[in-house]
Amino acid sequence: MRILKYHQAISEALVQCMEADPDIFIAGIGVDDFKGVFGTTLEAYQRFGSKRVFDIPNCENAFTGVAIGAAVMGKRPVVVHPRNDFMFLCMDQIFNLAAKWRYMFGNKSGVPVVFRGIVGRGWGQGATHSQSLQAVFSHFPGLHVATPASAADAKGLLVSALRGSTPVVLLENRAVYELEEDVPEEPFEIPFGKGKIVRPGKDITIVGASLMAYEAERAANVLAAQGIDAEVIDPRSIRPLDEAIILESIKKTGHLVVADTNWARYGFSAEVAAVAAEKGWNDLKAPIRRVTPPDCPAPVSRPLEEAFHPSPATIAQACLEVLKKRGDPRHDVEDVQASFAGPY
């Protein structure tokens, strides 16, 4: 174990897997340039060169099809999108083909393409560069969708994706790219559909993936100072969803708050709430609460942007309300991405 930043862990997973499997290649806009997609593809390009790490023209939809066609012939493409918002351009290939391939063509083979999409946040990235598309991708059967929060989870889930036979969408929040933790040196797998308890507690369950796992943890610290013991669950993958870990936690706490970077309507938070209502109803002692961005596009201006995104304070406030307790949600706790100073 040694400390790695989130982007270093992704880079390491790519390099180690490419060493082990010559069929893996990385492609996407700018993957071979001097920035290397926030550092995640720099070492792979240095090690394996332009045959296996290459730039592409601006053709998100066609290149998704290209990756599928290469995967069917035995390759393992990693397609990188510097913002997941660009993936709207390739929805046909992802949903109508990659996700359906195994089923629709008679269960002969899958298309193990890994799609990495980075979620923007902060510095006024606005309406089309700071959406978080986990709900969209997770709606359709046939994909695995994961939103790793930590460096180790990013490595483990990426290694699983590169060894599996399923198309995978990995959504990486830009706001956690500089966060660091102990990461095992050897390649290791974290299975899809296996969540983790970020912080154990007994009074209330907060479910939050990706950036929201951190914000939920900060909210839990705020609550702890006021004698409330919150349990934070990070499902890590959105599809398949680790329902058991959520239901187990509700059984213990009887209260549920879901925090998400995605809108509430038809979103991830709606899905978690539905699972709790359908399968954990008898354990719930109070209505479920969702903490999400409001029903508007992401704004740019700083005060609007800060009001838009869920924060430790809004999560803590929701918990207090669910528990019918008075307390201080501590608005002075900075959210995780506060140090991010742009430009992208």
Binding site: F25, K51, I56, P57, C59, N61, A62, F63, T64, G65, V66, A67, I68, G69, A70, A71, V72, M73, G74, K75, D92, Q93, N96, L97, W101, R102, Y103, M104, F105, G106, N107, K108, S109, P141, G142, H144, T166
Partner: protein, 322 residues
């Protein structure tokens, strides 16, 4: 250039076999047992057969919604295709794909798709894989004149050209996208084969009802792609006889005339090829009749097998999900 006799005979036979299969299936379709939207290729066989015969066994093909002829011409299993139309477990897609998702990877028929232009990019991806591995295989993709209006056409041609990929694009220009003629969809004077040259992709316009011309053009195009020169584009003019989807004739529905249909039927690719072979003394009327009988027996057998096969078990509804 005169083609070897065995090639000429094979080209005619393969078209006859496909015509026999589709006409028989079209006759049976009204029985209501093939519960899948079915786009017959009747009248367009020469493109599929000319290209399919020019490819190697380990080359791959992709197709669109009108895929029966492409599938069969590349060597796709007839029994598996018929069973798929009947929705049976033994179908080439296990009854999960239907008429528009035919595939037989063992024969190099990788995928067909009901989304316009979708497989152009996928074929190009297989070509990318072949180029990365330096294996000398090529990928071919069939699509219609409608697909070239999609954005993916531009994206794919640009990508295939800049990466010099061994992919053969085959446009079957039958003049209609469903019921909409070309002249209301593309600017007057548009020539598809010329448009692709602006992407630096070489192209050729071919009489798509002349199987020998298609075959010769496809051999040259395949040689070009296989030798590392990059993609090649064939525009083959042809005509769909039956309705866009379904087994019926539709010249009374207003979007085209019986006269137009009859003119194209007079240019039937099979009749033309047969006449060429008869004139050259390469086959006799009696042989033509014998072949017809063989193909009819093969098709009848495939239909009997498909009808007798079991439907997928409902408990296997989720098979292939994860």
């Amino acid at each position: 250039m005169t083609l070897p006799q065995d090639v000429q005979i094979r080209l005619l036979q393969e078209m006859m076999r496909i015509r026999c299969a589709e006409e028989t299936l079209a006759d049976l379709y009204p029985q209501g047992e093939m519960r899948t939207p079915t786009h017959f290729s009747i009248g367009q066989e020469a493109v599929a057969v000319g290209v399919g015969t020019a490819l190697n066994r380990d080359d791959v093909v992709y197709s669109g919604h009108r895929c029966h002829a492409h599938y069969l011409a590349k060597g796709g299993d007839l029994v598996g295709m018929v069973a798929e139309l009947y929705g049976k477990e033994t179908g080439c897609a296990g009854g999960r794909g239907g008429s528009v998702h035919l595939n037989d990877p063992a024969a190099g028929v990788i995928a067909s798709s009901a989304i316009l232009g979708q497989t152009m990019a996928v074929a190009t991806g297989s070509a990318l894989s072949f180029k990365m591995d330096g294996v000398g295989r090529i990928a071919a993709c069939f699509f219609g004149d409608g697909a070239i209006e999609e954005g993916i056409f531009h994206e794919t041609l640009n990508f295939a050209a800049v990466k010099k990929l061994p992919v053969l694009f085959v446009c079957e220009n039958n003049g209609y996208s469903t019921h909409t003629p070309l002249d209301v969809r593309q600017p007057a004077g548009t020539k598809i084969y010329e448009r692709v040259r602006s992407y630096t992709v070489p192209s050729q316009l071919v009489d798509g009802n002349d199987v020998f011309a298609v075959y010769q053009a496809a051999v040259q195009a395949a040689t070009w792609a296989r030798s590392g020169e990059g993609p090649f584009f064939l525009e083959c003019t042809t005509y769909r006889w039956r309705e866009h989807v379904g087994p019926l004739w539709d010249y009374d529905r207003g979007y085209r005339t019986k006269d137009e249909v009859d003119q194209w039927i007079a240019r039937c690719p099979i009749k033309r090829a047969a006449q060429t072979l008869l004139d050259a003394g390469l086959c006799s009327e009696a042989e033509l009749e014998a072949w017809k009988g063989e193909f009819a027996a093969e098709v009848d057998r495939a239909i009997a097998i498909a009808k007798a096969a079991p439907f997928p078990a409902v408990e296997n509804l989720m098979l292939g999900t994860y």
